[in-house]
């Protein structure tokens, strides 16, 4: 198939035209063959009938004489029997194959073989004459009964040269090919017009896309047939998503530049000639860490796909397993028991990188803060898929539980990490229409619950 594809033209119209032409040509060839065969059969049947008529005419003028020998008393009515080489010939053979009589037309036509047919049954067959294209002949065996009740067998043979037959077949073929060719050409021309009309919507779509690229319009707005409407809607969705992404990147870059200016200003504003080395080191360390946090936060916000990315259906347990496997390696020196209670079939509509960012950050926090247990559960109701992450650490005080979701806030300054993770989690989850809640766990530590909209179609992975 690859070889076939390589020589097919790149144009859809040409491909359709080629394949349609092939079908038309094959159809007409088949029709021509069938019609030609039917015509020849009909012509042969007509010749058969004519030869039978000639045979009966000959029979009517043949009779036994006094010596019980067959003779033809008068010339058959058909004048061609009297003209040498007329193309119509008659013969009579006895039961031993000896020629008893032949017509005047067969004066010089001696190379003919008779076949003894069943008595009373004519045998119509091709006559192969050397140096000639051959014609048709009819063999007919009759039995004469004598007065003594003895029987004498004779075979009558009527033969015709192919001249008339060949001419009529040739004429028919000429007409057939001529009109067949004309009909094919007309049909192909019609096909060409139809294809042009049928593919017109694609040309209009291409034109609209060029208008969009040139900034003359924002979306594809034309009315199109059903088959193309799905395509144009998808294209419009892609255009809208890429525009949103562009806006998001621009905003993030702007926010980044804006946010970095403060720590940079603080460092540049410090008087290094009067400040102590310790103060300088502390300020540089503090502000450079702040810059790191800002960069990481804005980077994660910018690269979030969000709900506009389209429908990617994720099996939650598959991706949570990847996160748990990662955390087991990272926290290999801390004996943590990860209880992954998610069941098969729990799925969400979400970009995989966003899902990893949300659940990875939360699970990482749980592993960081826990004493030895991290539990992951999942539930589903009419509208939501809820993923909960519990740990058995010291938990988060009630008055801090909502604040830790804000950027830069941590409930305990003794653990590594600067509080960026949960705020990014909230932004990502909210971009999908979900929520994040911080609660106290029955295990004694914190419980983070992420709610995401339930998948509206059956998962296909």
């Amino acid at each position: 198939m690859r070889g076939v594809r390589s020589w097919l033209p790149n144009s859809l119209r040409l491909r359709l035209l080629l394949t349609a032409s092939l079908v038309v040509v094959l159809f007409f060839l088949l029709a021509i063959i069938l019609l030609d065969t039917a015509f020849r059969k009909t012509a042969e049947n007509a010749i058969n009938d004519q030869l039978m008529a000639q045979l009966y005419a000959l029979l009517s003028v043949a009779d036994l004489n006094d010596r019980n020998l067959l003779e033809v008393s008068e010339s058959p009515a058909e004048p061609r029997f009297s003209v040498p080489e007329s193309g119509l010939y008659a013969y009579i053979f006895d039961h031993q194959g000896r020629l008893v009589w032949k017509s005047d037309s067969a004066l010089n036509v001696n190379e003919i073989e008779y076949r003894m047919s069943k008595v009373g049954e004519p045998l119509f067959s091709r006559w192969k004459r050397p140096g000639n294209s051959g014609g048709f002949k009819l063999d007919f065996t009759v039995v004469w009964e004598l007065e003594s009740e003895a029987q004498i067998t004779y075979t009558f043979l009527i033969a015709e040269s192919p001249g008339r037959y060949s001419r009529s077949v040739s004429d028919f073929r000429s007409v057939l090919l001529w009109w067949g060719g004309v009909a094919s050409a007309l049909l192909l021309a019609l096909l060409l017009l139809l294809l042009r009309w049928a593919l017109a919507p694609l040309r209009r779509v291409a034109l609209e896309i060029r208008q969009i690229e040139g900034g003359l319009q924002q979306q594809i707005t034309g009315l199109y047939p059903d088959e193309i409407t799905a395509l144009t809607q998808n294209i419009n969705r892609l255009i809208a998503n890429s525009q949103k992404t562009l806006v998001r990147y621009r905003n993030s870059l702007g926010n980044l530049a804006h946010s970095l200016k403060t720590p940079l200003a603080m460092m540049r504003g410090m008087d290094i000639h009067t400040e102590t080395r310790a103060n300088i080191a502390h300020l540089v360390d503090e502000q450079s860490q702040r810059m790191v946090d800002i960069v990481e936060y804005q980077l994660k916000r910018a690269t979030t796909a969000g709900s506009s990315s389209g429908f990617t259906i994720l099996q939650c347990d598959v991706w949570i397993k990847k996160i748990v496997s990662t955390l087991k390696k990272v926290y290999s020196e801390k004996p943590i028991r990860f209880e992954n209670n998610l069941y098969d079939g729990l799925s969400v509509n979400m970009d995989s990188a966003d899902f990893l960012e949300v659940c990875g950050n939360i699970a990482d926090n749980a592993a960081k803060w826990c004493l030895g247990i991290v539990r992951i559960d999942g539930t589903i109701d009419d509208q939501w898929v809820s993923l909960s992450f519990d740990d058995d650490g010291s938990g988060i005080p009630h008055d801090m539980q909502q604040k830790v979701l804000s950027r830069g806030v941590r409930s305990d300054q003794h653990m590594p990490g600067q509080g960026i993770g949960l705020s990014v989690v909230v932004e990502i989850v909210e971009s999908y229409g979900g929520t994040v809640d911080v609660l106290s766990s029955v295990l004694g530590g914190a419980r983070i619950v992420v709610k995401l909209p339930k998948v509206s179609v059956a998962p296909n992975q």
Binding site: S288, E296, K300, T303, I323, S325, T326, E333, A353, L356
Partner: protein
């Protein structure tokens, strides 16, 4: 211990190498993925630091190739992008830990020590063999709780023997794992180091901390008293 640093940024690579050497590691450096693959295959690496964003061959591909060829030494990945997707991909490829840039060197050092301990089957920062204790965090060596001062190469040699405490280590292995590629290596000096270590660890000559197995190499005495 011999450590391979695969990092294309020159400043960071040299800074890392300098800090690691000051901690007693023999450091080899590579500037891109192909270079790193060569070093990773040809040299006796004990642990590797691999940056993900490498030219010529990505860090992930480098790790995958090394693991597929059964090079099982611990690998810590460095990544400028701290996205969880990269972390998962890196660890699924076969790395053992990751750190996002920029990082505190102290944290990197602690993670490296943890990886080395993990690969040796040690549970905490201190390696023990009978009455000999080697703290990988403070690089302090003690015998019966009395601190013993060692030179850099003596420390490296003892550290390597303690990581491989149940194995016979040949002189060539010791040369490969305590010296860097560019250094002046002399296997005869190993005998001198071993001699000095024995004296420092065993003043009274009772412990026989390092056994010589003629024609094969050295081994930490498995019957050292606690």
């Amino acid at each position: 211990m011999r450590i391979l640093v695969v990092e294309d940024e020159k400043g960071l690579r040299e800074q890392l190498a300098k800090n690691l050497r000051s901690e007693g590691y023999a450091v080899d450096t590579a500037i891109d993925g192909e270079d790193g693959l060569y070093f990773g295959r040809e040299y006796p690496v004990d642990i590797a630091i691999v940056d993900l964003g490498l030219p010529r061959l990505s860090g992930i591909e480098l790790i995958k190739i090394l693991r597929s060829e059964d090079y099982l030494y611990p690998i810590l990945i460095l990544t400028a992008r701290s996205m969880w997707q990269e972390k998962v991909e890196g660890l699924e490829a076969g790395a053992d830990d990751y750190m996002a840039k920029p990082f505190q060197y102290e944290e990197l050092s602690a993670r490296l020590r943890a990886l080395i301990r993990r690969s040796a089957g040690a549970a905490d920062a201190t390696l023990r063999a009978g009455c000999i204790a080697l703290n990988t965090s403070s690089q302090e060596v003690s015998v019966d709780s009395i601190v013993v001062e060692l030179t850099a190469y003596e420390y490296r040699l003892l550290h390597y023997l303690m990581i491989n405490r149940d194995k016979v280590v040949s002189k060539n292995q010791l040369v490969d794992h305590i010296y860097e590629e560019d250094s002046d290596r002399d296997s005869n000096v190993i005998e001198v180091f071993v001699g000095r270590l024995r004296k420092k660890l065993d003043h009274q000559g009772k412990l026989n901390p390092i056994q010589t197995l003629r024609g094969r190499g050295y081994r930490l005495n498995p019957e050292l008293p606690a």
